[in-house]
Point group: C2
Chain length 201, copies 2
Amino acid sequence: MLTLRSSPASPFGRKVKISASLLGLTDRIQVTDADTLNPEDSLRQQNPLGKIPALVLENGETLYDSRVIVEYLDHLAGGGRIFPAGWERFAALRQQALADGIMDAALLQVYEGRFRPTEKHEPKWIDHQADKVRRGLDHAEAYLATPATELHIGHIAQACALGYLDLRFGGRWRENAPKLVAWLADFEARVPAFAKTRVSA
Amino acid sequence: MLTLRSSPASPFGRKVKISASLLGLTDRIQVTDADTLNPEDSLRQQNPLGKIPALVLENGETLYDSRVIVEYLDHLAGGGRIFPAGWERFAALRQQALADGIMDAALLQVYEGRFRPTEKHEPKWIDHQADKVRRGLDHAEAYLATPATELHIGHIAQACALGYLDLRFGGRWRENAPKLVAWLADFEARVPAFAKTRVSA
């Protein structure tokens, strides 16, 4: 049995859970919630960075971060299942990188509220991160909103990024991204794990 | 000709430059500095996240982030050159993830000074990031400080993380990490590109 250390709201953890589901590996993975702020949580022994997700293997080794885990799961499932070959691999990895970047920039805005009193919030920093999200969404709306023929890691990551914006920013991205709204509805209709891993605010 | 958008001090850009050198691709890549804070810089058209490094290909496509670029360069050089096969691939990717995480946590401390006036600095946040760096270094000192037989992306990333701590934090990591100090000296002796890409504070 593999053990996934994550938390219900983590968008990077959700990427791993949905990947595992598409790869038919859900039954081989138990999910154990981790508290990234608790020094006593075994997470910091498993991943020195103290970040989720981390995947504990049967031999005691741990893999991180989410990109490494999803590639390992694909390998366990035979390889080439959610990672295309040739140039398409790099296009998929780039789409994942864009989605991961959107999630990182969204998380940094959330952390601003979690780690600082209001008087220490810095609009310049928050705007800098919000601009990354906005530009990333504009790009995805223009170039990455065609319903996929074969689902790959880029699509999974993009769905998780949009889901995280729904969770933490009230879905305001939907106002200016009609193609992505349709794209996400198509993804959700095809991937039951997306709804199963949704949490409410 | 490929064009790498980066900046001299970027540890992630350095990872790409050293990888290119080890792969014999330096002559095929021109480096053009990018200003991540300037909205007029073409970087934001090349990478919507506005982050460096980004690699502009001959057909006008751009790849990002650094992990995607180094894998693409390895592919251009024939494949499997700085990415081992089998389990060792995942161990190398995990080492890269650890080093990238150290660089991210170090950068967030630097950005604290760059984006905020002193009165808005938050010790709780800075400590949270500094603890990630400290734990990452302790782990590397204990488990990842044996001079490599064959250099791979994990080693390159680790060298860039240590180099960035030298640049921005006065090399204080050296006091508690004698094995890593020796490891980095060995890396530098074997990889001329490491010294060539060093910048001074």
